[in-house]
Symmetry: C2
Subunit: 663 residues, 2 copies
């Protein structure tokens, strides 16, 4: 690609910020450069949905989107959010959340459409479309919903009429009678802020007077400002392709996405068909009826049927992307996408951590490493920041972290029920060593004493990252001896940015890391460690803190230490994770609290098990170590070995007086 | 070093930004962190002079400072500024510029005390003390000088009475009669902004009633707010040591620097002694008188005498630093400092380019590579920026570069007279190849056709940097063929930050570079180059522009490309130089203008030589190339080879239509 860039002329094609006339070198200053301030976030991330869609369509690249409905219970919400994370990893262009009028959809309840959509964009980093229905609603209420959605970072609305409350529906004068009224309202009150999607009916809306009339309604909605159309489900590719041609015929030029419904069961099919007043074609009924009691067979057929239909659509050359009605299930949709080759098993990560999709956080590209396993907690605690660190932590970061309040904890707490946690983390702890064992089992994947695998820890909701696996043997050894690790990364000296385990960012770059190790350990160990660390100055930086807030560190000037960075063709340096002394103090509060809130409270008050965890909470230190010499072999294991050796050496009089105080 | 850092308590020792009380994790946000926002600029750089002095004294590290007087002519100013650069490289803690009442010292003239001090701090990056005398001046005038000094970035004032205009001086009621009045005025009108130095007289001020009375005057000046004292010159160590003890005796506790005057010649000694009403000790006169006509012998003796005296002072343990009266000469002072081991031959560079000492630019740590050989021009053209790039270029840089106006050009233009330039760059150019030859001679160090060495070029005021020497052979080859290089750097993949040639920043780090090459070349070459570059996507980024402003580039999203960066223990990443598409357009105006202003104008109007340079100016392109693959062998020479090969190949029909337009 060759960009032509001309100052002082009329042919400036790419740089809006510099069209300041014929002056030799005194061009006007402008901070609103068209340049992206976060170098590794491709233009795709900063674009709005309609632009992404256009760009993907122009590139000939097929894509998909996923529809979900809000859950009914809080635990359902936790599950759905995990599903967002899993299905988000396949690379959908967007997801959409239906509006559930009976479920108080605009409220702050954890199960509301609004909150689920907000979580998807803010915490799961997914481009999200929120449905909104207007039937039987006042304009004030609608405007309120839209303003709230905007405030939460949502930029896309699916404008629908919705089902009338009364069986027989009547037009209301001056009210919202059709989706087109909602589209007009969004455009008049919010200008061009939202991207708007509307529904299209390949066989005509069930209440429409005719297919043609319904097409004209669709045209009206698009003319009123809708950016793209998602179709109602259908069972034959031809149905959609004819609809598409008819739309083009009457001048609807925007993207029209086919709504794909993989048949997943006999009952759900019947229910959906009834609701949407669709007819299932005979050839499908003939296959399904005989196997209607065999769920697996129906699902397999559903997958097969959807794949065949999607292939016809994609091969037509008229359909750049597919929209899936998931019914909040994973298996069938993922399988269809896999067979179509649309599921991206290992999508390129723009940064080592998942980027939030909130427009305000768009430029964010530096985070403290501490929250690596608790990114949602980090996002929650920093949601009120006015600006996010970009390029450098020390510059623009605000040290004010919000509290983790109870209400939101449901997003962040363990997904496992109490019984499962007790099985994993021991029904009864005998001593500190029982705790060492649990940590060791988590690392090794071996079952614990009572035969249960330890799948998570309070600080790690998922099993070990592939990267951490590289350190498994060493981690096992130190955990067994009471160095209770909760976060670590190996050193990396310039691996390809496309490396499947440690790579991130655009292709053609190189990624680097300093070795990092974070753990809880006893004050006895810390006393030995502090002496040992003197030998490793200035190679190793450390922070050592107990729950009471006594931080021992050798960080120069309390500066952050970059521990992950990347070098890319034609870009500035990116350093997405740092060890920051100030945020570490907020993190230690959270990290210590997890001992009590997630572990100790599993046991009875005053029970020995609870007292053991409480003892650790009160007496252990949280330690982090960075080996600055990334090109050499990681020395942190040697540091720990030296610490054990000194601790276990026969007592000798030391002249050194640096001792960790233990208030 | 172990820093204790406690949140939510009263024992916070190091972090001013976080003393927000007992709240668990809701500490107040504060942007005024005590953390340095430019990671590699040690605390030393951000401190004020008195703090630096205190820290150096506490560390037991001896240091020195240098006094200069303003020049009488503009060419004298150019020479003095070069001297600042050379003597600055030895690592003085500060320099000071005397106030020259007869020379319109507060004016904007290039020879004024004010302008010379401003140049030292802004363009040479030296901590600078400006002298100021108050005798026979109105308060308004004094305040005006101080306000101007503050505006220019000066933070240190040497407060003096100055010599009265009349031979017999009388106190003026309510006026400035003594230096103490000036000290008081600075403190009352500028609070604590300035660090203040005052003069001490080891043998008493010549006009003082007694030595004791003079000591008491000194005490008054210090009590009024002076931060340190510089002594008048003296010839015996004992004289100063007694004075020091006497000062301590009466309670003067601030630093008192001995003023060292290496005897450099018989006449200058006599003159100075007469002015300062000092007596030269007999033992010195006895040595000097017999050799008074032998300048070299006197200078050698002066060096010897100064070294001996300084050794006694330093060995006393009471003198942490030495102040030198240089008389604007280099040799003697540098030799004394070398013999004392105080001259730092290769001071650690905090960044690859010289950092300005203006307080406003303190955080600056990113610059475009284009001005690498013209840093003063860059500083001048960006002096009005409100903020300077820190951490990332794209974020805080303003693309508005100031014009290079005629007045300031004297700082920036060649130091050589026209005749020398003509000898170097040829009395008469025959064709473009004559120009190629000049460039080639500059690279090789070989004399040109008329036997003169080419010591500089319009774009390079100095001879080749040691780093560029690494590329000498390749540079010679391409210049010979019309690739007229003006800037280049080799690729570096993690060399020690202490490397004598390419190292910078704190010890224990690693520095990196992407290979860079910048040159002028013909449109014929550019046509071939553009075709060749397609083979090197995305490995090589390029910008190609002619004087009329047509920029051809493959820079993604017009983003800057970091080409120098460093990784240091306990620090964020630093990327001090970038290739920035927007600033490149300002640079090309400057780079093309130099052809005309510095080279073409050496020749008669309409002369063939002038027409040749004018032809190059009108028709050549300025090209820069970056090889992004820094761990591999630099491919830019191969790119140039391929370009020559394609250019020289027998004409064949190319399907490719990308051709550089040449308006």
């Amino acid at each position: 690609m060759v960009n032509h860039f001309q100052r002082g002329g009329s042919s400036c094609q790419s740089c809006k910020s510099d069209s300041s006339g014929a002056s030799n070198s005194g061009g006007e200053s402008s901070k609103e450069s068209s340049r992206c301030s976060t170098p590794v976030l491709d233009a795709d991330r900063s674009d709005r949905l309609r632009d992404k869609m256009r760009r993907r369509t122009e590139s000939g690249d097929h894509w998909f989107s996923l529809e979900f409905f809000p859950p009914r219970t809080a635990s359902g919400a936790v599950n759905l959010i995990s599903r967002f994370d899993r299905m988000g990893s396949g690379g959908p262009l967007f997801i959409d959340i239906t509006w559930h009028p009976a479920g108080d959809p605009g409220s702050d309840k954890e199960t509301s459409s609004m909150m689920i959509a907000s979580t998807a964009i803010n915490y799961c980093g997914l481009e999200t479309v929120l449905h909104l229905t207007c039937c039987n609603q006042t304009k004030d209420k609608i405007i309120g919903h839209l303003a709230k959605a905007k405030h939460l970072g949502l930029k896309n609305i699916m404008a629908l009429r919705g089902d009338p409350v009364e069986a027989e529906w009547e037009e209301e004068e001056g009210g919202f009678n059709y989706a087109v009224d909602l589209v007009k309202c969004i455009r008049s009150d919010f200008d061009d802020y939202f991207d708007i999607c509307v529904a299209g009916y390949p066989t005509g809306h069930p209440e429409a007077q005719s297919y043609d009339k319904d097409l004209r309604h669709l045209k009206e909605k698009v003319d009123a400002g809708a950016d793209f159309v998602i179709s109602q489900l259908f069972f034959r590719a031809d149905t959609f392709l004819k609809f598409l041609d008819d739309c083009r015929e009457i001048g609807i030029t925007c993207p029209i996405l086919p709504g794909i419904f993989p048949i997943q069961g006999y009952q759900s099919l019947r229910q959906l068909v009834k609701l949407s007043k669709l007819e299932v074609p005979l050839e499908i009924m003939e296959v399904i009826e005989p196997i209607k009691d065999n769920d697996a067979a129906i699902r397999n057929y559903g997958i097969h049927q959807a794949v065949e239909m999607c292939r016809v659509l994609l091969d037509s050359g008229k359909v750049p992307g597919l929209h899936f009605y998931t019914l909040n299930r994973e298996v069938a949709t993922i399988e269809v996408l896999r067979q179509l080759g649309l599921w991206t098993e290992d999508p390129r990560r723009p940064l080592p951590w998942a980027v939030s999709a909130h427009p305000k956080r768009k430029v964010e590209d530096v985070r403290p490493i501490f929250w690596a396993s608790r990114p949602k907690s980090y996002i929650y605690r920093t949601q009120d920041w006015d600006e996010f660190p970009n390029g450098r932590w020390g510059n623009s970061s605000s040290p004010a972290f919000g509290e983790l309040n109870d209400y939101y904890l449901f997003y962040l707490k363990s997904k496992s029920p109490k019984e499962a946690l007790l099985q994993m983390w021991s029904e009864e702890l005998v001593n500190e060593e029982s705790v060492f064992e649990i940590f060791t089992c988590y690392i090794t994947g071996q079952p614990n004493r009572s035969g249960h695998k330890v799948m998570c820890l309070p600080w790690n909701d998922e099993s070990l990252a592939p990267e951490t696996n590289l350190l498994k043997d060493e981690l096992e050894k130190v955990n067994r001896r009471g160095v209770l690790t909760i976060n670590s990364q190996p050193s990396i000296n310039g691996k390809a940015s496309t490396d499947p385990i440690v790579g991130w960012g655009p292709a053609g770059g190189y990624v680097f890391q300093k070795a990092y190790l974070e753990f809880f350990t006893s004050s006895e160990n810390v006393n030995a460690l502090l002496k040992v660390l003197k030998k490793y100055e200035p190679r190793v930086n450390y922070h050592i803190v107990n729950v009471h807030g006594h931080n021992l560190t050798n960080a120069p000037d309390f500066q952050p230490n970059a521990v992950t960075w990347g070098i890319f063709p034609g870009r500035e340096i990116v350093q997405p994770t740092v060890v920051d002394p100030v945020s570490f103090m907020y993190w230690k509060d959270e990290a210590f609290t997890l001992w009590i809130e997630q572990w100790a409270k599993l046991y009875e008050d005053e029970s020995p098990s609870r007292m053991i965890i409480k003892y650790i909470y009160d007496n252990y230190f949280l330690v982090n170590l960075v080996d600055n010499d990334f090109p050499l072999e990681n020395c942190l294991w040697q540091v720990i070995d030296d610490m054990f050796e000194l601790r276990d050496a026969p007592p000798e009089p030391f002249n050194d007086t640096t001792v960790a105080e233990n208030p």
